[in-house]
């Protein structure tokens, strides 16, 4: 690839941008669960666990639709840069990338279980969010290691 060394610059900037996008996304979710109304983070997490905010299916679809595209794109772009990596094997990349795709889908769809009344507690959404953030962090770490 021509001037491949220089392509490392935009790839490197993908990392802090992704961290900021995920951090603002998590913050937005916590705000929707009452974080802004003088609640501590721990209290908000407890509230999500025991009494998650009621959300309409329409509201969830409005959130899920752009995220299905955006999260898919972000994971694809980050993972496909690993094709140029000589430090991480293709097999490892494939496993991690599929794991991130899976957890992203789990994260996007988890709240539907609460809205449909299949779950009363919000533990599933918290688990989905933590799993997705952890898996994406692993993928981004591998990308950083490959630079």
């Amino acid at each position: 690839m021509k001037d491949s060394e220089f392509y490392k610059i935009p790839i490197a900037y993908l990392l802090p941008y992704s961290v900021l996008i995920v951090a603002s996304g998590v913050w937005l979710f916590l705000l929707s669960q009452g974080l802004d109304s003088a609640q501590s983070l721990m209290q908000t997490l407890k509230d999500i666990f025991y009494t998650p905010e009621a959300k309409s299916v329409r509201g969830l679809i409005e959130v899920a639709t752009p995220h299905l595209f955006a999260m898919g794109m972000l994971i694809f772009v980050a993972a496909h840069f690993m094709l140029f990596s000589t430090r991480v094997s293709k097999k490892t990349t494939a496993i991690v990338a599929l794991m991130v795709f899976g957890f992203a889908l789990f994260d996007i769809l988890a709240y539907f279980m609460i809205s449909f009344g299949w779950l009363v507690s919000g533990w599933m959404k918290l688990l989905a969010m933590v799993s997705f953030v952890s898996a994406l962090t692993l993928l981004l770490s591998l990308l950083a290691f490959s630079l």
Binding site: M1, K2, D3, E5, F6, Y7, I9, P10, Y13, L14, P16, Y17, S18, L20, I21, S24, G25, W27, L28, L31, S32, D36, A70, M73, L74, V77, H80
Partner: protein, 157 residues
């Protein structure tokens, strides 16, 4: 990423046309993004302060934190992808010259700072508004200049 590995653009006219079209769309995106922020956030220091902090005397409510955060969240995503495409084509066209290297660093840092600075201004106060305006305008201008330069090279060389 085929445009990164195709050796001679002269032999692939279709790729040149496609790259020109995507750069043209990114240039339009940059112009419309300025217009969008002018409508949503404001056009001058007073207007932006009114949006971010409201005006108690005139019963103007400040923007909700989740509305502002949603704007920042989508700004980060849009700027990341537009810059990834623009800078990759830029590096493809000009190679790794010192100027293009600095230009890539500059647009990425300014794009990121622009989004973060708006949020920081919301919490810190009005004195940061001019800084946000400067950073926001700078990232759009530098990205636009880079885009025009890439488009010119694609079309006329």
């Amino acid at each position: 990423m085929k445009f990164l590995i195709t050796k001679e653009l002269g032999h692939t006219r279709l790729l040149t046309i496609l790259m020109s079209a995507v750069v043209f769309f990114i240039l339009l995106y940059l112009v419309f993004d300025v217009a969008l922020h002018a409508y949503v956030i404001g056009t001058d220091r007073h207007g932006i302060a009114l949006t971010l902090f409201g005006d108690a005397e005139n019963f103007v409510e400040p923007i909700l934190l989740d509305t502002l955060l949603l704007q920042v969240h989508s700004d980060l995503f849009m700027s990341l992808f537009s810059l990834l495409i623009l800078t990759s084509i830029g590096i493809r066209m000009y190679g790794g010259t010192r100027i293009i290297r600095w230009a890539v660093h500059l647009v990425f840092v300014l794009g990121m700072l622009s989004a973060v600075m708006l949020l920081v201004a919301y919490f810190v106060g009005t004195w940061l508004i001019p800084v946000w305006i400067a950073v926001f305008v700078a990232w759009h201008v530098f990205a636009f200049v880079l885009g025009v330069s890439v488009l010119k090279t694609l079309l006329f060389s």
